[in-house]
């Protein structure tokens, strides 16, 4: 084994040394929230956007629209932490959005039943994804991409190319536009889910095992962790949360059209990878993910209100995703190298 030539000064260290957070390390951990605030301040004073950007109303719009993306980002965290991609989550969200609307408007089912059926379907997709990946050892990348295409196709068939606008329970739409303290209620739901996810990842054996699996699955198995069961569950939970995201999206928008969900999934992935550059650099984490989602939303909204065309937000999302993956990979490597 090649030894790393640590300076021999450490030879006497058996006394626990608390690593004091250096200013640089703090800056690294909190660069992203700082950047989000800077971007916000910039657009608040930028002449072209200063009229409409720094309003309470715009903040509400930003947080409302981002609630759904952030929720999908949290869903994506579960498989990602154990090292698996789930590309079907955007499509799952679209599916529950369309199904909830369709069950009410076409079959006339009550709101609660439509939601329950849709969530069960979303969870079922997670069950299938997990089965393919853990039991049949199929590549998660291709499996979930295929699942995404399949769902988008099925929803096109289900809607017949129509948009469901009528027959949706007004209570749901009312809920979607309700604000508490000036902030949309749906955003609070996202925060609650985020809090539960945070608790899961940091304070339950299950959540902690996901990080261990992501680090070294063989070693995780050899310390008695039920690796394939836990990975399977991560897909199931992801499917369920993405399903909730779809229902919230219906509540906010009030209508449903079949789509492949890419417009939800890719900003969510950008948020997850941006999140891996903050708070616990090099690792996917919940708080970083929420900050990442807000950062993306603030930037896109600022660009839009400054008069940038529609393509600008896609370009921004793309750049943010590339930069985030690059940065988090770099930080991860740096940490693994033990610096």
């Amino acid at each position: 084994m090649t030894q790393t030539s640590t300076p021999p000064a450490s030879a006497t260290v058996s006394i626990p040394v608390k690593r004091t957070p250096t200013p640089l390390r703090l800056l690294e951990n909190f660069a992203l929230p700082l950047l989000a605030i800077l971007v916000y301040v910039f657009f608040a004073f930028f002449p072209m956007s200063s009229a409409s950007f720094p309003t309470m109303n715009n903040l509400a719009v930003i947080l409302g629209s981002q609630a759904v993306v952030a929720l999908i980002a949290i869903a994506a965290l579960f498989p990602l932490i154990c090292g698996y991609f789930d590309f079907s989550l955007g499509a799952v969200a679209v599916m529950t959005q369309v199904m909830t609307a369709g069950l009410m408007s076409v079959l006339g089912l009550p709101l609660w039943l439509s939601i329950v059926i849709s969530l069960v379907l979303g969870t079922l997709v997670g069950v299938l994804n997990g089965f393919f990946v853990t039991k049949l050892n199929m590549s998660p990348f291709v499996t979930t991409l295929g699942m995404s295409m399949l769902l988008a196709g099925l929803m096109s068939w289900f809607t017949g190319g129509q948009t469901f606008v009528t027959g949706i329970d007004p209570a749901l739409v009312k809920f979607g536009s309700t604000r508490l303290l000036g902030i949309p209620l749906v955003f609070f739901i996202t925060l609650i889910v985020a809090a539960i996810a945070w608790y899961f990842f940091t304070h339950t054996p299950y959540g902690r095992s996901l990080y261990a699996i992501g680090s070294n699955a063989t070693a995780a198995k050899l310390v008695g962790l039920p690796v394939s069961k836990n990975v399977w569950w991560s897909f199931i939970i992801a499917g369920f949360i993405a399903g909730v995201a779809g229902v919230l999206q219906l509540a906010r928008v009030g209508s449903a059209t079949a789509a492949d969900g890419g417009s939800l999934l890719f900003p969510a992935l950008a948020a997850v990878f941006l999140g891996a550059t903050a708070i616990r650099p090099g690792f996917f984490n919940v708080i970083g993910t929420i900050i990442g989602a807000i950062f993306v939303a603030v930037s896109v909204s600022g660009l839009a209100l400054s008069g940038a065309s529609g393509w600008a937000s896609n370009v921004f999302n793309g750049i943010a995703l590339l930069a985030a993956v690059g940065l988090s990979t770099y930080l991860g490597r740096k940490h693994r190298a033990g610096k």
Binding site: Q3, P7, S14, R19, A219, L222, L225, G338
Partner: protein, 533 residues
């Protein structure tokens, strides 16, 4: 601390004059500091032409730093360097300079492409021979075949590296490194831990070949933790300790103990058999009867409280498989196991752990390490379930537990939050042991417990294992290192083709005796009656 120059009189032969034709490499007064800490303090290294020179030292002794400076990976702070008589300025010395000067490195990770053929591995290093717009495969094949023949490797150049036995892989890497050696340029081969990944028998084959290259005039520097192997192959020794030269032995034949004493600055007792009555009591903890599965073809044995039981045997004899079946990783085809008087049949690893069984696997990097996680995390991972109380994971308690374990097991690390990958191999292994010992196992299974571990850490690990036994744990050690088996075990089972061929009590045989028992079985044809049982 002054460096002691050990020079056994009779075998002594003064090193050739500095810069003279006799030296392939001469380093003098080499200094290197890392952020204010002296890693190298005026060290030297004099390698005579056509010899095998061992560079030895514990972790942090500076030998790796020296090799990295030679390779041009680190810059030196000061010192003089001559390679084959040509002086080199250490400022502006790069990997390219090292290459030009004739230094060739083969590291523990061989840098071979496993899926590609031998010839392609050669060509990727040295360029493909061209013929018109294409590749001159025929020329490449003859060229590589000639090289393989020269290195006594009877291999088809088209064989993928993956299909070669481990010692052949290393030898191919060596041949590749030296492929442009000819009359016009002499090369110096640096082998960095060449046998760390090899089982004992494979390293013997490899070192024998290295020895033969040296007899043909090849100069070799070898860095290794395995002293017995180094002793078998080396002419000269340079030993570092704490960044200084602790000893230089020229044309000497020291004993293993002498080398260790120079490396450690003291005699290290733990590496020898204790010679004391063992802690073994007569109460059985664990036993198997008729165990079969994989290469294991029916074995019976019992381990007692406080006993250290050794499993020795060639690769494929079933050493590791026995441990894996006991740990619930593989399900046995047949046989019964008893743990503390009750029938024991683990369906999964979790069952084995709950029953009080622990396994330290052979491949630390692949099967035990969570390299990008902290030491705390690496320790807590085996007790998640136990720690989870009242709906929370007690982070504070995990940290305190980690601090205690780090102190108890003598782990040298910056702190409990330091990353696992930041530690040396020996300290990583101590953390893996601590991970399991915190569960107070009744039965501790160890597979190659000191592979890739330096001598000083090995002594610490032996002490940990003996302490576990003294506290009443039953221990099973599977190892290809018979010196280790000899030093540790109260009783040793020799496995041969999945059967127990011999049982040896401590003190009945020395290392050579054990070796011959293990090797002898290799040539004995399988007795048909036995196979049919």
């Amino acid at each position: 601390m002054t460096s002691t120059s050990v020079n056994p009189g009779a075998a002594g032969e003064s090193p050739a004059a500095p810069g003279g034709a006799g030296l392939a490499l001469s380093i003098r007064n080499l200094d290197k500091s890392f952020s204010g800490t002296r890693a190298l303090n005026h060290v030297s290294l004099q390698v005579r032409r056509g010899t095998v020179h061992a560079l030895l030292g514990g972790n942090g002794s500076g030998k790796s730093t020296t090799i990295k400076i030679l390779a041009g990976v680190y810059g030196a702070d000061g010192g003089e360097l001559e390679i084959f008589g040509t002086p080199f300025d250490l400022h502006g010395y790069t990997p390219a300079t090292a290459q030009q000067a004739g230094l060739r490195f083969v590291h523990q990770d061989l840098g071979l492409f496993d899926d590609l053929s031998i010839e392609e591995n050669f060509a990727l290093d040295n360029g493909y021979p061209r013929k018109g717009p294409g590749i001159d495969w025929k020329h490449l094949r003859t060229h590589v075949k000639a090289l393989l023949d020269e290195y006594e490797l009877d291999l088809d150049p088209r064989t993928p590296i993956r299909n070669l036995r481990p010692s052949d892989q290393t030898m191919v890497a060596i041949a590749r490194a030296l492929q442009d050696q000819d009359a016009s340029q002499e090369l110096l081969l640096v082998l960095d831990e060449p046998t760390a990944r090899l089982a004992a028998q494979e390293s013997e084959v490899l070192l024998e070949r290295v020895r033969r290259r040296a007899e043909l005039g090849q100069t070799v520097i070898i860095v290794s933790h395995r002293l017995r192997e180094v002793l078998a192959v080396s002419d000269d020794y340079t030993i570092y300790r704490d960044g200084r030269v602790a000893g230089e032995l020229v044309a000497a034949s020291p004993t293993e103990d002498e080398l260790i004493e120079i490396m450690a600055g003291r005699a290290v007792q733990a590496l020898r058999p204790t010679g004391e009555p063992s802690h073994a009591e007569r109460s059985p903890v664990f036993s198997v009867t008729g165990l079969r599965g994989g290469p294991v073809r029916g074995i019976d044995f019992t381990v007692h409280r406080g006993e250290i039981l050794g499993l020795a045997g060639l690769v494929g004899s079933g050493r590791s498989s026995v441990l894996k079946m006991i740990f619930g990783e593989h399900r046995p085809d047949a046989g019964t196991m008893t743990l503390e008087g009750a029938e024991y049949r683990p369906e999964a690893i979790g069952d084995a752990m709950r029953a009080g069984v622990a396994l330290v696997p052979e491949d630390r990097g692949g099967e035990a390490a969570f390299p990008d996680q902290s030491v705390t995390e690496n320790l807590a991972v085996a007790v998640y379930g136990e720690n989870f109380t009242r709906g929370v994971m007690p982070r504070g308690r995990e940290r305190t537990a980690a601090e205690t374990l780090i102190a108890d097991f003598g782990v040298k690390v910056a702190g409990p939050e330091a990353l696992f990958s930041s530690m040396s191999g020996g300290n990583q292994q101590k953390v893996v042991l601590a991970r399991w010992m915190q569960r107070n196992p009744k039965l501790l299974l160890l597979d190659e417990p000191t592979q890739g571990v330096d001598v000083m850490s090995r002594a610490d690990i032996y002490a940990i294992i003996r302490r576990a036994a003294a506290e009443g744990c039953a221990v099973i050690v599977a190892s290809s290192d018979l010196g280790e088996i000899h030093a540790l075990c109260d009783r040793t089972l020799i496995l041969s083709r999945g059967r127990i061929s011999d049982e040896v009590a401590a003190g009945d045989l020395d290392v050579d005796g054990l070796t011959s028992l293990v090797l002898r079985e290799k040539n004995v044809p399988d007795a048909p009656t036995e196979a049919q049982q």
